[in-house]
């Protein structure tokens, strides 16, 4: 099996030492934005807060063997995803990301080539998302590769989307499609075997790509926050069923979801059906999609759709409602069932 960064003869990244690696990263960075007053290289970074806004802070890590596997993902994929999952958290608060701190724990098996690939994935998404690397930390790891990222962002007062803002009667909308990432991972695990992973094509390839490089809904979250078009929001890191459960619990409501409305990815349907799994249940439970779930007051539905059109051309699908009754149900073929449980990253 091809395991990037473990080829014989490759230079271990750790040979460069902490300062050598930090210097290597600094040479890859674009010129800093004016609000980054002290960047990487000092004891800490100094940034100018956005005037009149609150700071958003989030941290999330990818751990080799827990969240990713170099049999299925390249170092560039991992670098991308480590930033993406944090950008998704800022977006789900209605915020705009600004700065990132990159904390790496590097095993002896990590080659300099893998290190460079990881940084490339991270910095390409950072550039596209207008996020500047403000600092970080590099350590050896006697175990797995760990990519731990902190992202800061900003949002105006009263334009922050928490999980807890939902009200009974709010419509639930989900962006994009669901199920693709977990279907892609399932396909990779099934086709890994002892040799090279077969490269998928068509709709299956799209699922594999969603698993490898999820696209955080940075613009959508910021636009919906800024226009105050939703009462609550959460990202789908642990799956749609989990997000519905969390928003309903935090908001003190229940939820009713209509299975027929769910925007299940076409490739995911194919993969799940081919595996004899129920596509609805699998797509609801599957994690790692990084779409956004919104609770929208009925009177704001026009504003919500108008705001959504400004963002990345993503579909926004009405999938159900928050309810005064605290139960969590899925309606399918005229019958009610309990909402399945989600996916645990831990």
């Amino acid at each position: 099996m091809s395991t990037p960064g473990r080829g014989t003869g490759a230079t271990p990244a750790s040979d460069l030492g902490e300062r050598g690696l930090i210097e290597r990263i600094r040479r890859m960075l674009p010129s800093p934005p004016p609000d980054l007053l002290v960047g990487p290289g000092d004891d800490a970074a100094v940034v100018r807060p956005e005037r009149g806004a609150f700071d958003i802070l989030t941290t999330d890590a990818l751990v080799e063997g827990v969240h990713f596997d170099f049999s299925f993902s390249t170092p560039t994929d991992v670098g991308h995803k480590a930033l993406a999952i944090n950008l998704s958290d800022v977006a789900s608060m209605g915020g705009t990301p600004r700065f990132a701190l990159l904390s790496l724990m590097i095993p002896a098996s990590c080659s300099l080539e893998a290190f460079d690939g990881l940084l490339e994935g991270f910095l390409t998404l950072a550039g596209r998302s207008r996020v500047a690397v403000a600092g970080g930390n590099i350590s050896r790891s006697p175990g797995p590769l760990v990519v731990d990222v902190t992202v800061t962002g900003s949002a105006r007062p009263r334009k922050i989307l928490t999980r807890a803002g939902g009200r009974p009667g709010d419509r639930l909308y989900v962006s994009g499609t669901i199920g693709a990432s977990s279907a892609g991972l399932w396909w990779l695990q099934r086709h890994a075997g002892a040799g090279e992973v077969a490269e998928p094509d068509g709709a299956v390839l799209a699922c594999v790509q969603r698993h490898r490089r999820p696209e955080p809904r940075v613009r959508l979250g910021a636009v919906i926050g800024r226009t105050r078009a939703a009462n609550a929001c959460m990202d789908l890191s642990d799956g749609l069923a989990d997000a519905i459960r969390q928003v309903a619990e935090a908001s003190g409501t229940g939820a009713r979801i209509e299975a027929d409305r769910l925007p299940i990815d076409q490739g995911a349907r194919e993969i799940f059906s081919g595996a004899g799994k129920d596509p609805v249940e699998s797509a609801l439970a599957g994690g790692d999609d990084y779409e956004l779930l919104f609770a929208v007051p009925a009177r704001f539905k026009g504003r919500f759709r108008a705001a959504g059109r400004l963002a990345q051309g993503l579909s926004l699908t009405h999938i159900g409602e928050l309810t005064a009754d605290r139960s969590l149900v899925v309606i399918q073929n005229g019958t009610e069932a309990a909402l399945p449980h989600g996916f645990a990253h831990f």
Copy 2:
């Protein structure tokens, strides 16, 4: 050997799952300060920036087997130190710490008792330093325990202390004493053997305690920044020799240090001398003291000493000068020698 958290029959912390552990932490937290608008439990935290100040951002990790060893430190020590090293970075910028994010990667061998101990060490220091836990992340680890911390702080414009602000002729001052932490670690490693670590006493105990629970110079850094009593500052995470080298390089100067002036800890002198090591060289090279090094213009020395008196009753020792000549020298017994290299945590 006693390895905390690995006793037979102990409940593994990971049995509680990510949400169970987050809920456990939330119950340990004091009530949030008014500037923490959204705390742990949502996708991200929301905080109010300090009016008219810049944000300081820093991240630093402790990795089991690299930065600590449960043969020498308790989980409580590790929790304390993981926050302390980040507070030290904020202090060295002249800032005041405000919020922390705690990212934990927990191996199956970590007991719930060890988890609680770690949190206790972290939260006790946080409370004492007026730092609020704004959020974090918990993941399983297939390898070492990793405690990765991000701390944010604030500092007024033009009151930030970077490494680069030093000028030729500035006096170099160091807070407290040096060498204690590395001497304490050396003593522990020497006395570990196959059984229990013998408990040291007196001056040696103080060194061991400095290794286990370094005290970040939070108030000193903030006061010297606020009063603009220094041109440059850095903390001694990688030792005094390294800090002198970094400040001189960033400031475009050299440095001359007088060995006789160095405030070498008395216990460290005993340990180093007993081991047949040169106390000056060992204390200069030894890491983990978390004291602060300042470059102070000669005309500010009164202001600097007055400001220093406000902070923790710490001694501030004049150890040498920054020089226009770029060389880095130590004067001892009338002869010049090159500054030794520091300690690499990596």
